[in-house]
């Protein structure tokens, strides 16, 4: 039963009382059909809730993984680049000849001036 406190006139209150009475008098067949319809709707809601869980949870996990990958790529892009960027340069740096050259750097400087 709905509260009638907001209804202003006796006309409205009477209309509501008559309607409430007619609702109470609904036959058993109609009540049974309404119960069946309600059960089907609740079942549907439960199914949809399950579907949402199965669809949206993996989708959420995928989105989170994508974001993490993107963040990693951006973070790596901001890191300072190494001084040696190719294998040839590395070879020059670590090669034994280079150390010999460094030991005689004054000689090479004199040779360059000549």
């Amino acid at each position: 039963m709905v509260s009638s406190s907001y209804l202003e006139t006796s006309f409205e209150r009477r209309a509501q009382a008559l309607f409430d009475r007619s609702v109470e008098q609904l036959d058993a067949r109609t009540r049974s059909r309404l119960t069946q319809a309600r059960s089907a709707a609740v079942e549907e809601a439960h199914k949809h809730a399950g579907l949402r869980r199965w669809v949206f949870r993996p989708a959420g996990a995928l989105a989170a993984a994508s974001l993490a990958a993107l963040a990693l790529v951006l973070w790596r892009a901001q890191e300072p680049q190494p001084l040696v960027t190719s294998a040839d340069e590395l070879e020059v740096v670590v090669g034994a000849e280079s150390f010999e050259m460094l030991e005689n750097v004054e000689f090479y400087a004199w040779l360059d001036q000549r």
Partner: protein, 209 residues
């Protein structure tokens, strides 16, 4: 969601029944809890919704179909919405279903008017329903039945929007804002339709009613 540690077996510390247990369980199984809430909500509105649809459509089966469709649509589309929003949304869906049914009828009637024979099947009434009830009825019960019959008749004569406003406000008890959501219009329009409906019904039913 409240901060309950998921790994800790809280329910083992509680008695097996009572409101606390229900609260904890409701957090453990939110889907089931929402299904129960929806069941309670639909149970609270289904009979009134049927009577409103029955008055608008003047047909039991069509009214049942409209209510069933509205229930399913609410469950599918708005089952995850807060339960406080369900009532105006449900009645909005129901009003749309009623309007669709009325439109289909109009189209069918126009088509049938062009056909040489009437192919519209008459409604199959339940044989038991046609058996007259011979029990003596008190005078006040008869008077109330007659008053409701007159009110229904007067309501069906109203323009659709006035009829909706009156039934949602008086029969279902929606406030002006909820009625506006259910009718898909402004609160000002609801007040206008409702005021005109009350005025028209008073005139039609007369002082005797």
């Amino acid at each position: 969601m409240p901060a309950l540690a998921p790994a800790f077996p809280w329910s083992a510390l509680l008695p097996s029944s009572g409101p606390d247990v229900e609260e904890i369980r409701s957090h453990e199984e939110p889907g089931l809890d929402r299904a129960r809430a929806l069941d309670r909500f639909l149970s609270s509105v289904e009979k009134r919704a049927f009577r409103i649809a029955r008055i608008a459509l003047k047909h039991d089966e069509d009214a049942l179909d409209a209510v069933q469709d509205a229930m399913l649509a609410l469950a599918r589309r708005y089952g995850a919405r807060p339960s406080e929003e369900w009532r105006p949304l449900f009645y909005r869906i129901l009003q749309n279903r009623i309007r669709d049914c009325q439109r289909r009828r109009m189209v069918r009637e126009r088509l049938l008017a062009w056909l040489p024979t009437n192919l519209d099947e008459p409604q199959q009434d339940d044989a038991l329903e046609s058996v007259p009830d011979l029990r003596p009825e008190p005078a006040d019960r008869l008077a109330a039945d007659e008053a409701m019959r007159l009110l229904e008749h007067a309501l069906t004569a109203l323009p659709r929007r006035q009829q909706q406003a009156f039934m949602l406000r008086v029969f279902e008890g929606l406030d002006t804002a909820q009625t506006a959501v259910a009718m898909g219009c402004t609160e000002g329009s609801v007040k206008t339709h409702y005021s005109r409906a009350v005025h028209a019904l008073r005139e039609q039913l007369g002082a005797a009613w």
